[in-house]
Point group: C2
Chain length 438, copies 2
């Protein structure tokens, strides 16, 4: 079947070809009848231009919280299977509403719950992982000229129980559906217009990146640039799905060629168009706390002896640094989320220090983590030292350092965080539009 | 597996045996967290007494209307398939909440959406009919000692689309589940404590019936005693499922033997315990309008010529009376719901009368229907004449009469309706408790 192709500029040919696109809309974008109508108008525009479109919507804003609130009112520790049964209804309702809104725009549309596709997952209720997605049903409807709506956030386990992917899971659903149907691009519509070089609330000169590699995005997502759920980025990298983050707040009828180049494209291709910057962005996190065990006897297995009980208590550890051994003892430092600091310290005093021995426990509840991230760091020397120099010039003391191939992170006193981020943003030239390599 | 049997009166043995029971709770009974807790307490009591229990809950009161309201806000004529997708979420959420409430009472429980059982239906979206129910999954959980919760109101069609049974469909779901698992009884918990000899608001002496036959219930349901959805009664009759209507407003922990004999049992067995009354109840409906075509040429096919267009316009016709032909013409009367009266008259004037010919159109918008219903009428003569005599003594003119094997209905001026109902209730001795036949 040939879909009608509409050009938006009179007399001109569209530059793009007919393609297969996944749209994902968050809870805010689906938050009212009027907003659902706007989503329908935007999708209708893509459909009218000849694209095949699959839409993955979240539940209407507030709905999932309302449902889970009822469950928690009944029982403080509700059963995961039943929670998923309840929570999954939010996306099912919003998907049906979007189908009706599209039909009202004259666009044939059909919605499917996760189990109808099916989106298969494991049985980890409330935090399930997608194992496979059958594309036959989706393809059948696309070939019949329909827009297909697939509920985000949910699937079905091998025993036929409903599962959910956990908070933010709709991003992962969208990328997974895009991978399954081999979509040309997965568009994540959200309330920001893209990924920035750092948080514009801290650095007003922060710039939206036109392109970012998925490795960089992974490092930034995990460091607190909360644009996309990190699992969705992992998925995109694994299945090489180009993902674009863009705004759902623009006029839904803006010309398609404008929309197609807006936002930030997260790509797995390091092609000629990639920006030339060595460092792409500055990520940071305020809610860190540092714990150091001084003069721990340095023997094999010491790291596990310290961190094993911490992990068993479900406390996430972020940075870990162990200094070189001096006279048979070593200093062992790590950071945890500030919310879990008290629990971690209590655990160390009660269980760990009596077992492993340590001269002293030194803690700092008010530290921040600042990271520079960039794929260009792979092939450029001196990036870390420019970071250290910049911070030193501002009189900021570095307490811990940790590096990966495309990221360098430091722990500093949290009162210097904004100052450090601004200085680094300027030092790495992120306030100026980069020149393309070509 | 042997379930624990608890006796409620110390030292005594329970009179009942372990049985398989279906409970159905309406939207009001499920209307808040506290009410869901009460439902759980009641179900837990039955479970603790050794019964296997399947529960069919409605959506929380107001929820279905809220969801369908959103859909109608988006489109005045929303697609049926998508409406069902949306509406079915109400029962799915309430079922999950009830499972959590039961677990909080220490009762193992698991909820299933219609498609998970599966409850198979045809593809008539928003008014689907159940074709079959697979009992394997339910039985597996019952045998494992669990209470099983099955969403009311919904199923899955042969193509895997979600369907709903239409308003009040949860009653039908419950009876159908009871039929599928061969339950000993289906208990419909509602906000009334049973079926009455007539509406207590009209006749304060109206009595709750302990037992009523399903044929009588069918006649009463269709005549306006809106305790149970009529399709559920048909289902109960077809599959010989004993149904009991009882109150969900009693203390959930009242002794089980009290609860087991409360309400009204709708039975297909005309056994010795059936009440001896000739007439079981007086049903009535206010919202009737009468239409008469005078002097219609009497020829074959005349009834279809008149009522065919009416049915095609989706106007429900209730009573139909055609008098004997006089001089080649006949008078043809029927009643419609008062809401559809104007549309029916307009249709007759525009289409029917020009086609069939009639001397005159006579209408009365303010009539009521009063019916006496009773299985005993089969074997008792003179029942109808006592009805006519009673009304005559009150000076009430009878405008139309229609009879079936267990029912006699009359159309009267609606201002005499209450008077007629009270007089009939007394004349047939319904204000006194009947003597059992035995």
């Amino acid at each position: 079947m040939v879909l009608p192709v509409t050009t938006f500029a009179a007399g001109s040919q569209p530059e793009y070809e007919m393609s297969l696109i996944v749209h994902k809309y968050g809870g805010t974008s689906m938050g009212s009848v009027e907003r659902i109508r706007n989503v329908a108008r935007r999708v209708a525009k893509w459909h009218a231009a000849g694209h095949q479109v699959v839409v993955v919507p979240s539940a209407m804003a507030g709905e999932t919280n309302r449902l889970l609130g009822l469950a928690r009112e009944i029982s403080p520790q509700p059963d995961g299977r039943e929670l998923d049964m309840i929570a999954a209804t939010g996306e099912q309702a919003s998907s049906g509403l979007l189908a009706i809104a599209l039909q009202a725009e004259g666009v044939p549309a059909r919605s499917y719950a996760g189990w109808q596709v099916p989106v298969r997952t494991d049985s980890s209720f409330t935090k399930a992982r997608i194992s496979s997605i059958d594309d036959a049903r989706i393809r059948g409807d696309l070939d019949a000229g329909r827009v297909v709506i697939v509920t985000g956030f949910q699937g079905i386990d091998p025993e036929g129980h409903i599962t959910t992917l956990g908070r933010g899971g709709s991003d992962t659903s969208a990328v997974a559906v895009a991978a399954a149907i081999k979509a040309d691009e997965c568009l994540i519509y959200t309330d920001v217009d893209g990924v920035y070089t750092t948080d514009p609330r801290v650095v007003p000169e922060a710039r939206r990146m036109a392109v970012v590699s998925f490795e960089e995005m992974l490092e930034m997502a995990s460091l607190g640039s909360k644009v996309l759920q990190i699992r969705s980025v992992e998925f995109a990298g694994k299945y090489r799905v180009p993902v674009r983050v863009l705004s759902s707040l623009t006029d839904p009828l803006i010309p398609l060629d404008e929309e197609m180049v807006s936002g930030t494209l997260i790509t797995f291709e390091e092609d000629e168009k990639m920006e030339a910057a060595v460092v792409s962005g500055i990520a940071f996190s305020r809610d860190e706390a540092k714990i150091t065990l001084l003069a721990v006897p340095d023997k094999p297995g010491i790291a596990f002896s310290i961190l094993g009980p911490v992990a068993a208590a479900n406390i996430d550890v972020d940075m870990i640094v162990q200094n070189q051994s001096v006279a048979g003892t070593t200093d062992f430092s790590f950071t945890v989320n500030r919310n879990e600091f008290a629990r971690a310290v209590e655990l160390l005093k009660r269980e760990v220090i009596p077992a492993v021995g340590a001269r002293e426990l030194s803690t700092d509840e008010k530290v921040a983590k600042v990271s520079i991230v960039g794929i260009g760091m792979r092939s450029h020397v001196g990036v870390a030292s420019l970071m250290f120099q910049t911070l030193s010039q501002e009189g900021i003391n570095i307490q811990m350092i940790s590096t990966s191939e495309i990221k360098t992170s430091v722990i500093i006193d949290d009162k210097y965080m904004e100052l450090g981020v601004r200085a680094l943003h300027k030092a790495f030239g992120l306030d100026q539009a980069p020149a393309a390599k070509e």
